[in-house]
């Protein structure tokens, strides 16, 4: 795939952003509140230059190393999910008149977004969210409206965190598809590889040069090195296996540590559960129907006739892990985990899914 790559010096990044800004609002990684987060990007200077991220179970720390790179970190708390599947949004509204009830859909305004810095694991998660929200008998209009306009500049991950296991899940660290333009970052600049017609057009507008053999070698070495990761998954597929372990004592052992806070589901790039709720206007003349991210760790998630079906944390953790790694196969033909490791780093008590899966399956980690 490197055969159609070109080289953009670091100084050319500003030009790339200017070209993108002509047709898009650019979203890019920035340091905010002690983490790398996707926010509206005004220029290359706002990128997290020289920032590294150290991640461990229950720990996420920024380190400033003064390196020349803008993308030398694995990830922040959120992937692309909140950009497409909004944490809270209106689905429809209703107006009450003397004649009756009048319903109308409340679609988000069309906006062309370009996101720069997207990782391979997040592209895999995006593909799963696309499948969930766009396929089937009733595609989601809100998600579709945002997705249609999205331009993606991916970056191959050169500095995976200790919590990363995308190599084990098969979703990284190097992006293969699902982007418009792909970057490999080197100290002196970027290797650019187009992934779509639109990406090709953007590339044509930039002052790029040929890739030198030394640069090519450096990128190849970087790609190989990033794939060396510590955490692993059980060696054989978990499809149909976790459900059979429904009565394992391990669930209760996890529940003794788990706070059921739902952080793992909030940072997971594939979790799609949401609740619908009603917000009536105070004047009584109208009402809005919203959806908001929900978590299978909440009591309300499994509510039936006023009582939660999954009464305790052990059952809720089991639901999360079993859905993600087992029943997801039945629903979407693959695991629901893309190996980003966010649920490990952002778990306040440092529960490690890879460790729990090995323990449940009786493997050595």
């Amino acid at each position: 795939m490197m055969s159609d790559s070109t080289f953009l010096p670091q100084s050319g990044l500003a030009q790339l952003l200017t070209e993108l800004a002509a047709g898009h609002r650019i979203i890019g990684p920035q340091v905010e509140q002690g983490a790398v987060q996707y926010r509206s990007l005004q220029g290359a200077a706002e990128l997290p230059w020289g920032v590294r991220v150290a991640q461990q179970p229950g720990s996420y720390r920024l380190q400033r190393q003064g390196s020349e790179r803008a993308f030398a970190w694995a990830n922040g708390p959120q992937a692309l999910k909140p950009l497409l599947f909004a944490p809270r949004e209106s689905l429809w509204q209703v107006v009450k008149t003397a004649a009756g009830l009048s319903f109308s859909e409340t679609l988000p305004p069309p906006e062309r977004l370009a996101v720069i810095g997207v990782r391979s694991c997040d592209l895999a998660a995006l593909a799963l969210q696309d499948r969930h929200f766009l396929q089937g008998a009733s595609p989601d209009a809100h998600y579709a409206r945002r997705r249609e306009q999205l331009f993606i500049v991916a970056v191959n991950c050169s500095h995976p965190a200790a919590t990363c296991f995308c190599a084990a899940s098969g979703d990284g660290p190097n992006a293969v598809s699902g982007f418009d333009l792909l970057l490999d970052e080197l100290d002196e600049g970027f290797l650019l590889t187009p992934g779509s017609e639109a990406g090709q057009q953007l590339l044509a507008a930039l002052s790029v040069s040929g890739v030198t053999p030394a640069q090519r070698q450096q990128v190849e070495a970087q790609r190989r090195a990033a794939a060396v990761q510590q955490r692993t998954l059980p060696s054989s597929s978990l499809a149909g296996r976790l459900l059979e372990l429904a009565s394992s004592p391990r669930w209760q052992q996890i529940a003794e540590r788990c706070l059921a806070c739902g952080n793992c589901t909030a940072v997971c790039p594939t979790c799609f559960c949401h609740s619908e709720q009603e917000v009536p206007q105070l004047d009584g003349e109208g009402s809005e129907h919203l959806r908001q991210w929900d978590s299978c760790f909440s009591a309300g998630h499994s509510l039936l006739h006023g009582t939660p079906l999954r009464a305790d944390t052990a059952q809720r953790y089991r639901q999360w892990l079993t859905h993600k790694f087992d029943s997801w196969h039945q629903q979407f033909g693959r695991s629901g985990c893309v190996g980003c490791g966010r649920c490990i780093a952002w778990c306040p008590v440092g529960i490690d899914v890879t460790e729990e899966l090995h323990a449940l399956c009786g493997d050595e980690a």
Partner: protein
């Protein structure tokens, strides 16, 4: 905009009080063209929307060929159903649907239909019973078995008595506690199997009620030579969207709102009886 994403306005044409906590709303969609185009199968459900309060998933009890009305029998169990209970003829509400997969009524033609339900007025099977009774010539015997906790819980007593008078129809009722004037059987639902004229090789069984009761019925019927493929269960889970998107109704890998709510026994046998699944 599809009928699945956005509610249509509906009008309450009639409200029927079935018991102090159970009522039936007979609805007509406000737009005549939308009403005329509306199609459903018995066992499917709608999301009913109460203005300013929210939505709730309710099974459809009317006949699919009744062009006049879409009927829902509702038990007051929560915020939305308590509010729906106060609606009167002429009031407006919202309706999205229909959702899910209904009973295998076409496949059941030519054989016996066995209905097994537990609990209070099980609306999903009432739709199936009425469907069969209105098309009596297409089916063999109709055997209706209902179990309730206490004799006083049984609603639609007159309806059961009326069904019992229909040709080739057997109605069997059991109460765990009969009470003073309970004229039927006493015990859990499986006590009725001794009295049912069952033909395991040519029947379709449709059941609805608490999961434990359905598991007991499946076990009993499999023991009596029924095939797993002839048993169908109506499952219940929390539902918000009806479209397989919100994730609340998951049962293992199934989205009950779209893969169900009616499942054949082999489809969900490994998921039955697992606490907190």
């Amino acid at each position: 905009m599809s009928q699945f994403n956005l509610p249509h306005e509906a009008e309450v044409v009639e409200r029927i009080e079935e018991s102090p906590t159970i009522f039936t709303l007979r609805l007509r969609l406000a737009d005549p063209a939308v009403h005329a185009a509306y199609r459903f199968a018995p066992g499917q459900f709608n999301m009913l929307y109460l203005y300013g309060v929210g939505e709730v998933a309710i099974s459809i009890v009317s006949d699919p060929e009744d062009e006049q009305m879409i009927a829902h029998t509702i038990r007051q169990v929560g915020r939305v159903t308590n509010g729906l209970a106060r609606l009167q003829a002429g009031d407006r509400l919202g309706l999205r649907g229909p959702f899910g997969r209904g009973w295998p009524l076409a496949q059941a033609e030519g054989g016996d239909v066995v209905i097994a339900t537990g609990g209070l007025g099980c609306a999903p099977v009432v739709a199936a019973i009425n469907y069969v009774l209105r098309r009596r010539e297409r089916y063999g015997n109709l055997i209706i078995m209902q179990g309730v906790k206490h004799g006083d819980d049984l609603i639609w007593c007159d309806q059961y008595a009326q069904w019992a008078q229909m040709p080739d129809t057997q109605v069997l009722l059991a109460a765990s506690e009969g009470g003073a004037c309970w004229p039927y059987h006493v015990g859990h639902l499986p006590v009725l199997f001794e009295h049912a004229r069952l033909k395991p090789e040519s029947s379709t069984v449709m059941m609805c009620g608490p999961e434990g009761m359905m598991i007991a019925v499946c076990r009993e019927l499999l023991g009596r030579g029924f095939s797993g493929e002839s048993l169908y269960l109506s499952m219940e889970r929390n539902m918000h969207c009806g479209r397989g998107k919100c994730g609340h109704c998951q049962l293992g890998g199934k989205f009950v709102c779209q893969d169900g709510p009616i499942f054949s026994y082999p489809e969900i046998a490994p998921l039955l009886g697992v606490k907190g699944l």
